[in-house]
Amino acid sequence: MALVARGSRRDMEVHSFHPVVPILVPLFAIFLQVYVPLRFPSFTLLNLPLLIVIYFAVSRRSPVTGTLIGLVIGLIQDAMTHLPLGINGIIDCVIGYMAASIGIRVDVDNPGTRLIMGFTFILFASVLHVVILSRLLGMGETWLWAHELIRAGVNAVVGVVLFALLDRLRRRE
């Protein structure tokens, strides 16, 4: 992971997007997340909305913004399930905050960094899921190491490709 020198230009650089992009891209990701599993059931292994949260949080490099992006996208994810609202909201908030905090200190444009970052965050999100479901809601949730590692790996790889595509939508200030 390439650390950025203090005071460098990249350290202060904030990527901005067309105002429509932060609205349409998360909605499109959520649409794909709920529609594609009808044809490809294994698609539920991916967590596209969370990857979008990570990307925008890292790009904005503001923990508050990352938290709020995670809040909105997480609640929308929750609304599509039948579970109580707030499960994905909490997870995406925490991940958004952490991603933005890391984005301040680390060169997150590097594909290797993105791969490691995506793997770690998705795995951490799974841990949070289990904790919230089993400890807060009392639902019997089991932890399957192999499944969660595969899930994190697949999401990390998809995240690298997805982030590269989303880079084309940003404009530098």
Binding site: L27, I30, F31, Q33, V34, Y35, P37, L38, P41, T44, N47, P49, P63, V64, T67, L68, L71, L75, I76, Q77, A79, M80, T81, H82, L83, P84, L85, G86, I87, G89, I90, C93, V94, Y97, S101, H129, I132, L133, L136, L137, G138, M139, G140, E141, T142
Partner: protein
């Protein structure tokens, strides 16, 4: 204080947002489980579903439109339409068959003890599946029919293969369907052979299991699992799946869980039926279909097996075989060459007079074949037939009393 807030602004915002959501979770979990959400939660879901579902519906209908245009109009215009009608009829017949077969078995066993009325599926609404929850933790589907089509909460959702789940949150043009393999789902089921009742639940891995079952060696893989009707949601007798295996439940010793393979492929659903109405009387269409099916089955049976008789109606106390068909005694084929030893031709004792001649047999073969039959019949060469003292008077008596049977007369004169 101001410096503290400005210094820890970011973590404080995160903490506030997370705490607020945890409080929200606590409120939602604390509310009694009624199967649906509270007003506020429902409002949020309504907004989100209203935002997402139009795109899902548009995608689905566009895809179907293109597909139907190509395959239905240009390529196979008439064949496809006819196939759809036949498929619909077949689907309906499968449902009725499953329901009626189970009804027959159950009613015969528990006719006297049956206290509640049977429910029949009388009206269904077809719907397309337009979306999912997008996560394995919540196994729900979205369909393109809602309250405007008569859909209400807790209505059974089925396919011709079996049970899918039940409706949960219902919106104007969309409804959420909770699948039977969701951990929060519950379904009253019964095993078709062992008659074991239980509750089918899902788990986080997407398996369906009948939980809290005492070990029973009679439970075998492959046994059919059907709805019991005890949950007051699903009509009795709908196929749910088949027993896959029995696994121990370490948390609930000595109980075991029966893993059930769903009859419906829950991960690949395109269209479903929502049962909007059930009746206690068998629908007229079903009665008509049943009568037609029975007649057709009898015709087919008589064509293929001329000697086979229709299975007798099961009387109380009679046993039946595994398929629920009454255990009828074996039916002997009709004799090619009837004689006085042929079953059914022997007169009853009350018709016999001591010392009198043996009465004439009821069945008479054609005259042309009687000659040959008489020549080759074991009766003709038997000691009884060759004894003049007993046979000759009998022939005379018979020919005198039944002059209108030329076949027998010819046979007798031949002797």
């Amino acid at each position: 204080m101001e410096s503290f807030l400005s210094r820890y602004r970011n973590p404080l915002v995160l903490l506030a947002v997370v705490l607020a959501q945890m409080l929200g979770l606590a409120v939602q979990v604390r509310r009694p489980a009624t199967g649906t959400d509270g007003h506020q939660t429902r409002l949020v879901r309504y907004w989100v579903v209203s935002l997402i579902s139009p795109f899902e519906r548009a995608f689905l209908h566009t895809g179907h439109g293109i597909s139907n245009t190509w395959t239905g109009y240009l390529d196979l215009r008439h064949v496809r339409q006819q196939n759809q009608q036949l498929q619909a009829e077949l689907n309906r017949m499968q449902l009725e068959q499953a329901s009626l077969a189970e009804n027959a078995r159950q009613d015969m066993r528990l006719q006297k003890l049956f206290a509640f009325q049977q429910k029949y599926v009388s009206k269904t609404v077809a719907a397309h599946v337009i979306g999912t929850s997008g996560t394995d933790l919540s196994r729900v589907l979205y369909i393109d029919k809602g309250s405007s089509s008569g859909i209400r909460t807790d209505m059974p959702v089925i396919t011709p293969d079996g049970v899918v789940g039940k409706t949960r949150d219902v919106f104007a043009h969309t409804a959420q369907v909770l699948e039977i393999n969701d951990p929060t789902s519950g379904l009253g089921v019964i095993l078709s052979k062992t008659r074991l009742r239980g509750i089918l639940r899902g788990n986080t891995a997407g398996q369906t299991r009948i939980v809290d079952v005492l070990p029973d060696e009679h439970i075998q893989p492959g046994e059919q699992v059907i709805t019991s009707g005890g949950d007051q949601i699903y009509p009795r007798g709908l196929p749910v799946g088949t027993v896959e295996r029995t696994v121990s439940d370490p948390d609930r010793n000595p109980y075991v869980a029966i893993v059930v393979r769903p009859a419906v492929n829950l991960s690949r659903l395109d269209a479903v039926l929502i049962v909007t109405q059930t009746t206690t009387a068998m629908p007229a269409q079903a009665q008509h279909d049943l009568a037609t099916s029975e007649q057709k089955a009898a015709d087919i049976l008589s064509e293929r097996l001329p000697g086979a008789a229709a299975p007798p109606i099961l009387a109380p106390g009679e046993k039946s075989d595994d398929q629920g068909i009454p255990a009828a005694p074996p039916h002997l084929p009709d004799a090619l060459h009837p004689d006085r030893f042929t079953p059914g031709d022997t007169p009853t004792a009350s018709n016999l007079t001591p010392g009198a001649a043996y009465p004439k047999q009821k069945s008479a073969p054609p005259a042309a074949t009687s000659e040959a039959a008489a020549a080759t019949s074991p009766a003709a060469t038997s000691p009884a037939a060759s004894t003049p003292a007993t046979t000759t008077p009998a022939r005379r008596t018979n020919s005198r009393h039944t002059p209108s049977t030329p076949a027998r007369s010819t046979q007798e004169t031949g002797h």
